[in-house]
Symmetry: C2
Subunit: 224 residues, 2 copies
């Protein structure tokens, strides 16, 4: 099933379509507290849609999720990538300003936002964790915003360093997302991403065993 062919459907409907999961090994804030129901989403499935009311908070148990916004002229922007243990759906206001989709087959914990906030009212530790998670999200988005002020090559390098911190195994990064996803996250075209990868490979900063794998050869060069 391909992302671009998925028709929009409400989070409720998708949630219903999802299947219950066994308790996962991964531990995030919600998992630790045994909160939320684990639900599976196939690659490309929409978890919630832009403009829908904010009802739930989500935690990735397994897989990768992206938040996206489609502009009126068809351009697509990716707000962020979320991996196992990450919380997403933390938005203010009544409605979501972005939609969320599973990039790969994913398992996601879902909990009612109201319930979580209510619980936080009684549980001081939970409240502080919630604040910490939210602050971390601010830092992440801030960082994202700052990297968009850089040149294409710097953006790609920053992206690789971010992925290195979040999902690398040693010097190997296996990218779950397509070039188009990377491009939309960095605010450049896929051609620019591709060209930049090639340049970084030619300057020995990275190696590209295949299009989804990146080996970091010279992190200092990526940091400039």
């Amino acid at each position: 099933m391909l992302a671009h062919t998925i028709e929009k459907q409400s989070a409720e409907r998708v949630a219903r379509r999802g299947t219950r999961d066994n308790p996962p090994a991964r531990s995030g804030v919600m998992a630790k507290l045994m909160l939320g129901v684990p639900i599976k989403f196939g690659a490309g499935a929409e978890i919630y849609g832009e403009g829908e009311p904010v009802e739930y908070v989500y935690e990735v148990v397994q897989g990768t999720v992206r938040t996206i916004k489609v502009l009126s002229d068809g351009r697509r922007k990716i707000g962020g990538f979320y991996f196992a243990g990450d919380i997403f759906g933390l938005e203010e206001g009544r409605d979501h300003t972005l939609s969320a989709e599973a990039i790969t087959d994913s398992s996601v914990r879902v909990i009612k936002r109201r319930a979580l906030i209510k619980m936080a009212g009684y549980d001081r530790e939970l409240a502080q964790q919630l604040l910490a998670v939210t602050s971390r999200e601010i830092a992440r988005v801030h960082n994202h915003a700052l990297m968009l002020i850089e040149t294409a090559q710097e953006r790609v390098s920053s992206f690789l360093l971010e992925m290195a911190e979040r999902i690398s195994v040693g010097d190997l990064i296996v990218l779950p997302m397509s070039r188009q996803d990377i491009a939309d996250y960095l605010g450049v075209t896929i051609e620019t991403v591709s060209r930049t990868f090639t340049i970084l490979e030619n300057t020995a900063a990275i190696a590209l065993p295949n299009s989804r794998a990146v080996v970091l050869r010279d992190r200092a060069a990526l940091r400039q």
Copy 2:
């Protein structure tokens, strides 16, 4: 006193240099709860510096504040502008990743972060307000990130629309920040900002009575 001639000094030192304020008329979250001590900062003064420990949370009572980051090569990025009633300094981690400066002469309420979080543990309403403020900050930064993926003209238009929402009086926006500040916020050069303003003026979308004032003539055109 000019911004660029101010030498860096710690938040503590600046805070000590600041003078106590009379209780202000403006009301934000902290003011409502009569939290924090109002302190004055002169135009260009540093409120806290990048790399300093996160100890306080701030609320603008009067004036305008910018958060900035200076890169190793001297480029400067502005994370956000904060006007009366806005909260800033909400960052995660031990140290600030950005510094904050008063753009104009400003008065700022300061409260110990720890104290605020501790209080939020006892006061459910405060906890929820804190969460709401934090979520709003995420939305603002998200919006900033999204606007950085656009063309220069779209960025400038988005900037004007953002200022229109936040500080306009009718169709008039009096910008407290310089072209350089705007440029650093939008990730373009001052020349591009200037040229774009001229284009918008020539297409009758705005009028420029002087360099710090913008009159919105055609909001629809700015939205495209």
